[in-house]
Amino acid sequence: MSQATNGAVLAAEAESREFLVFSLGEEEYAIDILKVQEIRGYENVTRIANAPDFIKGVTNLRGVIVPIVDLRIKFHLESVEYGGQTVVIVVNVADRVVGIVVDGVSDVMTLTPDQIKPAPEFGVTLSSDFLSGLGSLDDRMLVLVDIDKLLTSEEMALVDSTSNR
């Protein structure tokens, strides 16, 4: 292997990013792994009245009160069940800790820039504003979610509109 190609590989590796892949129903989504704080089971969630239905409530994460968002409801998935496999991904966005409910976490993938394709303009449920692209991996397609933008967006109602965080 020549110097040049070696360098190119290194450069590509430097630019490649790691994603946590999770499933919502049959679909596969992925978020930047650096945003992920931890993964835990779904339990003991206290409902908050008068909140949108996808906000399941708040839970106690070692003394910190953390809101829990069910992305399956947000994305209008047909079957929303809570069982032993239901997983909460705790993410850190905009100085906040938020838990998102997903059907399952599959693996951690490294994607190089050329594996990330731009997301087409589509979708009413999930605006392409909240996507950082589509990851193509052999015959799999991963929807790369910009979790920062999604969770701080107004439609998620997680952040006070008056606060400028």
């Binding site: 908050i48 009245a49 008068n50 409530g57 910190v64 009160i65 906040r96």
Partner: protein, 687 residues
Amino acid sequence: MDIADFFDTFFEEAEELLADMEQHLLELDIDNPDGEQLNAIFRAAHSIKGGAGTFGFSVLQKTTHIFENLLDHARKGELTLRADLVDTFLETKDIMHEQLDAYRNEEAPDQEAYERICQTLQQIALEEIGQTLEAPAAPPAPLFKTEEPSASSASEHQLVVALLNVSEKDRTLLVEELEQLGEIQTQSGDDKRYEVILNGDSSADDIEAVMCFIIEPEQIEIKVTDRAQTAVPVSAAPTVSTPPAAPVAAEPAAKPQPPVESERKEAAAKPKKAAAESSSIRVSVDKVDQIINLVGELIITQSMLDQTVSDLEDQSVGNSSLQNGMSLLQRNARDLQEAVMSIRMIPMEFVFSRFPRVVRDTAGKLGKEIELVTEGKSTELDKSLVERITDPLTHLVRNSLDHGIEMPDKREALGKPRTGKLTLSARHQGGNILIEVRDDGAGMDRERLLAKARENGLNVSDTMTDEEVYQLIFAPGFSTAEAVTDVSGRGVGMDVVKRNIQGMGGRVEIQSKLGEGTNTRIVLPLTLAILDGMSIKVGGETFILPLSTVLESLQPTKNDMYAMAGDDVVLKVRDEYLPVIAIHEVLDVENAITDPTRSIAVIVQGEGRRYAMLVDELIGQQQVVVKNLEDNYRKVPGISAATILGDGSVALILDITGLHRLSRVKKEAGKIINNQHYSFYKEAEPS
């Protein structure tokens, strides 16, 4: 708290200010100085000057004064900054720091450095601005007497030292002292006045300085006479000379004692100072709060464990060492919590200390004579509360001075002392702190308050209790003042005072007697981080009600409930009709008891509004650690905060006022439809 504490505070503050100043000086862009930064440097210098002036640190004050003048020119753009000027400024800062250290160690600051830096600064002013600054006053006398060179006038003279009201024991010591300073010619007198005639070259100051270790300066009278004069002073004691036998006898042994003692005193003073320096550290509130949070977690974990252990015991024979361990853990955890909470506590002194000034100024403006008495200054209160109580308290004090205490002439006519007395007191009462503002003024006139209330269109009746009548002064826009004065009638009104105090989880009570005075009592929780709560159950959900808002609870009967205007319901409690708010409707709780006669009505009061809250079940009272919801989520209508229960789950703390608002909003939005189960209420009978 004595003056030494203020010294320490000043030293700490000045140190911070100097550090700030240095940082700003270092960051300063010389070619294009930032006005804000120059202002910051100027302000720091100004603050230090003020403090130094207050405590009589004259060298520091004068240095800062010159520096400040120069900085003033700099910030106005009259002085163009150069690198070497900034260097000089930094040097000035260093010298100020040295001076500060010197004062802290009770030493005289370096006179030479002081003169040099003053000169340099003057020079800069002269060269750069072309004007002399206010000349520094003659090098000030060092504040702390160093080894003052004894003004040893060459000529020997005679001193007549008279000791007034000095006991024989002390006198003996003093005479010995004097023997060190010169040759005693004669000594005579009694306890009242004892004269010693001393030959020698010591100055009167020396003698006074030595004697002050034993007696007060007022007890010494020193006259310097010429050697030539007659040995016997005119004021010669009429009594027979009775030189006490004791001094002679004790002389050899006692002789070296006094100096040793004074040396020891000096030596002792230093280590004490050094110890004081390291006895406190400044820690950011965030760090303390983090510890408080962690301890809160520990407490929760502990109660979870406790629960588990007691469940275990139900099933099998209890393990006594496990039990002992658990109770020990519980006690330690509580102690730890208390100790940690105490870090946040600061004495009321910090609030009270500003009032002498407020009272003096206000009294001066009003032409009244007021004596301020403070009690319980050392009572401790959570820091965040201390910060928030100051404004309401200031308002109450002003109000007392303005409306409570009468003019001196009027007081005299009423047979009261001309000087009015205002007492500020603080003390603990149970889990609360009680702060009182007491005056011996006119007191409140029930009839006048009622008349005024009617005038203002408030709903009052003659049967109201005194307490209720007095509470009227907290109604918005209510004032019985004949004229709006400069003192009250501006700034926050009494309604704001009450709201502020309620915002802190406290309440205000008024006791008053016409002609004798008024006592305004503020009852506050000790801390905001922990709340006394009542846990309630609605459906399967647990909520916490702040205990301070709960008045009573009762089981409503069908006969006490009245439907009003379709979907509103009121509950008759004794003679009062209270609006009813069902938690399960406002907060959409499923599987709750919907039949009001089977639920429990909790009468709550928040911000002066009372209503009956329908809940399924009362669980009990408990202390809860208040957790903010907004950190990771957002403000939730009707909910003030959250807490973590013993089983690790989150319970929401209800916001009484917010719930009332929410219920109205929901009703207006038509979300609560006139449910069928109200149909059995009897119609409100027109009265």
